[in-house]
């Protein structure tokens, strides 16, 4: 067995997606200062040709690691990179002690989309904002502050021309306040598996649109929340905002047309 396979076998699996399995582990088994890492394993896909599979996997792992590094330089809150084994398809990143925004918003478990009736209907389970406030007590931040943090992090990322490619509330976490790296609650963007570099207004607008859709499909009555995200994004983007805002309107229109046809 390869070193990284042994590492995985000693780690604890915490989830299994279509593309990757997620583990919590430690690179070394000695030293009190040894911290937890999250290991994201892009396993071999049996349906793909082995050579093609290996090179695709390598490119995905490399791409995710490079996007994280670019974000770190751009001062975007993302996990630090701890280990890269592109040959084995494993990326090791800093473990973030906290919960996903999706969970904190009462969005339930992963893959549990709110149905159309629930999203539009009268009998909403609970007011999203109130739910969030309860969950957030431990984090010592208000829901407005969380929305501001989301908008600000996305703006810093877009200013560095990184497009996330999969902005959802599951792909952002609130990190519990701890002495390091800072002593306040932080919003951390995760899952850069689909990230890429682009300067195009269109790509940034679509990134935002994907998040807007994610908010409305996962969290009922989310309009005011998402408005808070956009407001903070606008402030941070400065003069870049105007063009993106206009394009976001276009993208929304295209989205509506598509859903009327489809």
């Amino acid at each position: 067995m390869s070193a990284t396979q042994i590492l995985l076998s000693q780690a604890t699996q915490i989830s299994q997606g279509a593309e990757a399995a997620i583990y919590k582990g430690r690179l070394s088994d000695s030293g009190l200062d040894e911290e937890d890492v999250l290991l994201k394993y892009r396993f071999h896909k049996g349906y793909r040709h082995p050579t093609l599979d290996a090179s695709l996997t390598k490119a995905r792992v490399a791409g995710e690691a490079r996007a994280l590094l670019k974000c770190l330089r751009a001062d975007v809150n993302v996990p630090a990179v701890r280990m890269v084994d592109a040959l084995e398809g494993v990326l090791g990143i800093e473990w973030i002690n906290g919960k996903s925004v999706r969970f904190l918003l009462g969005g339930g478990a992963e893959d549990e989309e709110v149905t159309e009736e629930m999203a539009d209907g009268e009998n909403l389970p609970e007011d999203a904002t109130e739910e969030l406030e309860d969950q957030l007590l431990e984090y010592n931040v208000s829901s407005d502050e969380v929305m501001t943090m989301i908008g600000t992090e996305i703006a810093k990322m877009h200013l560095a021309d990184v497009i996330h490619g999969d902005l959802t509330t599951s792909n952002m976490m609130l990190r519990l306040p701890s002495p390091s790296p800072s002593n306040k609650t932080e919003l951390v963007l995760i899952d850069f598996g689909l990230a890429y570099i682009s300067t195009l207004v269109e790509d940034k607008a679509v990134d935002l649109y994907v998040l807007e859709r994610a908010f409305s499909s996962t969290h009922p009555a989310s309009e005011p929340l998402f408005a808070g995200v956009l407001k903070a994004y606008e402030i941070r983007m400065g003069k870049e905002w105007k063009a993106i805002s206009r394009r976001l309107d276009d993208v929304r229109l295209r989205g509506r047309k598509r859903s009327m046809v489809g």
Partner: protein, 199 residues
């Protein structure tokens, strides 16, 4: 000295010994000795190379123990995959620390030089006994705890090598030294871990 165990690596690469020396007085001799060892031939050369078979790293360019351990980890990983870019796992640690692919530059910046006064000494091997005694004959200086690093790091040089001065992470720290150092550390540690796929 600290010892780190990595069960996932083959036993001859699974134990990492890390010592930190301050007030080093023989850096120039040590540097000359390493150069000579690499050129000696025959059994004399082998004996001498074994005697100095360590990574000697200038502590000024190390941001944290995590940073150093990231380089060690990826050097060992490369060794297990037949992917060493340099002659040994010890020189590979130094190569991994440098942001460019130039090994001569890596050695000049991160290896021991005449101006080094604080040094990390790393040995990747099986668990070894009597290493501290052995090292004290090679490095003339004071063995200090690894957390003494915090007074040795030259942050400005690290920023220069990694071209960090104009990055938002540094600019946004707005002169807050603690924040800035934490960010530099995160960036350089992540860079070391990512180096192999940076192309």
């Amino acid at each position: 000295m600290e010892v780190y165990r990595y069960q996932q690596f083959p036993s001859h690469l699974a134990t990492v010994h890390v010592a930190l020396f301050d007030n080093v007085t023989n850096a120039d001799e040590l540097h000359a000795r390493l150069i000579r060892a690499s050129t000696l031939t025959g059994s004399e050369g082998e004996t001498e190379r074994e005697a100095v078979n360590f990574a000697f790293i200038d502590a000024r360019l190390i941001a944290s123990i995590q940073h150093l351990k990231a380089a060690v980890y990826h050097a060992i990983l490369a060794a297990t995959q037949g992917g060493l870019k340099t002659k040994s796992v010890h020189s590979e640690i130094i190569w991994t620390l440098n942001p460019t692919n130039n090994i001569t530059e890596a050695l000049r910046r991160y290896g021991v030089s005449a101006s080094s006064s604080s040094l990390f000494v790393v040995r990747v091997d099986r668990p070894l006994d009597g290493l501290v005694e052995r090292l004290s004959t090679i490095v003339h200086g004071t063995l200090v705890p690894l957390d003494s690093l915090k007074d040795m790091t030259n942050w400005d040089t690290i920023k220069k090598h990694y071209k960090l001065n104009d990055e938002p992470a540094i600019r946004n720290a707005a002169g807050d030294k603690d924040v800035e150092r934490r960010k530099i550390d995160r960036i350089v540690t992540s860079s070391v871990a990512t180096k192999i796929v940076m192309g």
